[in-house]
Subunit: 355 residues, 2 copies
């Protein structure tokens, strides 16, 4: 039952050095000649030594401190994610994990940069951030990494940055999937699809529309994109106008937010008007209700619950100097009315209907 697991003492003995030297190698403390260091590393390989994280954490009185940097705004998805992190805090506290949720102004790279710089001077054990493609964010991540702080990007990656891992979906794939489902819903008849985005300058939205278009453009008509800037009223007005002017619309794909406005239009559709197939993103109270009421067909959801868990687990493993598991990318869930997950038992005051 008691397996003989090699300790660092075994490594030192095997390498012919003192425990202190082996410790210096393993923990990169310096003051070790390369000759000795390579002997230690060889011994580690030969013996299969694996650092005992339990012992190390006990000796250090380890209490993980992770910072989660989220954009604040009216986006329901990030509100939802924020609430998930807050809800997890108490349980994580009991497991010696302290989460600090830091909110930065949405679409404001310098604000994100500043927050990350502050964290680089702090003694946090890891940082997870919602990325932005700004070059200053790449630099800020470099700085964190230089301070030996592990970094994970969440929901939106930072291409070119030296982050440890990305947790999120591939928006092109999401768009293509939406395209495929729209095609399926048309059997072999030709349809006319209206795409909606927050803004075409938002990379994730653009990717989704691009993906959808790849799948549909040879067999279906794609109407001009509606930019709704994630504002319900604007979305409502523009969609209503398009549906009024264009009687051939058979499907709507909303890649952005502001979906409460879209749902209101679909609610008020005249009975004589056939409801277009409707696919949108992220499960929120209004989109859940619209699914339940048959106003829309499908919600593509990136499962922030899963994303949150992957981030916390990943940061913990990085702090423990453990390899991250090779996992598949997050597969967005495809919700129809029949497979909606149970509602969470409690809702916080701050959670609003939508943004």
């Amino acid at each position: 039952m008691k397996l003989k697991v090699p300790t660092l003492s075994d490594v030192a003995r095997h390498a012919g050095v003192s425990y202190a030297t082996a410790d210096r190698v393993v923990n990169a403390r310096g003051r070790v000649a390369e000759k000795s260091a390579s002997r230690v590393r060889a011994a580690i390989d030969e013996l299969g030594y694996v650092r005992n994280v339990d012992a190390a954490n006990l000796a250090q009185r380890r209490f993980y401190r992770f910072a989660i940097v989220l954009p604040v705004g009216s986006n329901a998805f990030f509100t939802r994610m924020r609430n998930l992190f807050l809800a997890a805090m108490e349980q994580l506290q009991a497991e010696r994990v302290a989460l600090e949720v830091i909110e930065v102004k949405a679409f404001h790279p310098s604000s994100l940069r500043a927050a990350l710089d502050r964290l680089a001077n702090d003694k946090v054990d890891g940082v997870a951030l919602v990325g932005s493609e700004d070059a200053t964010v790449v630099e800020a991540i470099e700085k964190l990494r230089k301070a030996k702080i592990p970094v994970m990007t969440l929901v939106s990656d930072v291409p070119g940055a030296d982050r440890n891992a990305y947790v999120g979906i591939d928006n092109k794939v999401a768009g293509r999937t939406a395209g495929r489902l729209i095609a399926l819903a048309h059997s072999s008849s030709r349809g006319r699809v209206v795409p909606i985005v927050g803004a075409l300058s938002a990379r994730d939205h653009a990717d989704r529309i691009s993906g959808m278009s790849e799948v549909l453009e040879s067999q279906h008509d794609i109407a001009p994109v509606i930019e709704g800037y994630d504002q319900h009223d604007l979305v409502e007005a523009r969609v209503a106008q398009v549906l009024e002017d264009d009687r051939d619309v058979t499907a709507i794909y909303s890649a952005g937010a502001g979906n409460a406005g879209l749902i209101r239009v679909l609610e008020r559709l005249p009975e004589c008007r056939r409801r277009p197939v409707a696919i949108l993103h992220e499960l929120a109270p209004h989109s859940r209700r619209a699914l339940e009421n048959g106003l829309i067909d499908i919600v593509i959801d990136q499962r922030p619950e899963d994303e949150m868990m992957r981030v916390v687990e990943g940061l913990r493993r990085l702090a423990d100097r453990r390899a991250l598991p090779v996992t598949d990318p997050i597969v967005p869930a495809i919700f129809v009315r029949e497979n909606l997950p149970p509602l969470p038992l409690a809702r916080t005051e701050r959670e609003r209907e939508d943004t």
Copy 2:
């Protein structure tokens, strides 16, 4: 930075007992008067003491031993799951987790019972099993639990058993979801759907068909169920016959295995024959290829990767006396051609094309 976290010494002092008594309470070692025990428990609550798992595991030289009991047979899904566990073994070994994969004859409750009884006399730290509704399995689980061995059911639950948790999907929901997607694919036209199962006596298959029927029966025709007993040739022959005899079939929903046979029929469909909408379960090499080649439309997959991770993580938490996280049920992934996950890099010799 150094948070003062209460230790068991603090608890003992606070309760006015010795460390040894507090330890006896926390670890249920006995020899403690109820008067003392309740004082200890009160102190734990007041101080918010949480057992230091790192310290405990270090002191015990903890090396988790988990047993995973899987049915052996020609079912591709369980082969896939088995291979996932095997592939994870090495990494887990380095983290002091030893997995033992135990294979029992499929659909053979006494064989499963015997394996579980053996484990009850073994010193394993946890057991995960693919359930069976037999009463002897309920008893075997009782026995494990009596031996203080945590039990999780996987893929198929055991109603009435005292297991710690179930990891798997709701098959009724899966069937309803398939029904909804079939309805979506028919727009508002009426269709004729052919259901396929391994056997109607298989509860998961029956649940799936039942779920689908609920959604479809008021607007669509449901043809008689084909029982294919998970045998490709039989499935192929019977589906071909049905498609030959029934020119009105517009959709096929396969709730069982043996899907290679179904795919062969769809491959050989005459050009003049419109391909029915096809939805089946579990991503396997043949179903992946069929998706890629446009022979079928959707695969509903219960993500054994996720299931495996939940099981290992759950067993570990149970062994550490930690609460399991409140997680949503596994949401089956809905794969179309466009959102297929990357292929694993290596395939083991034992993995076959299908069962």
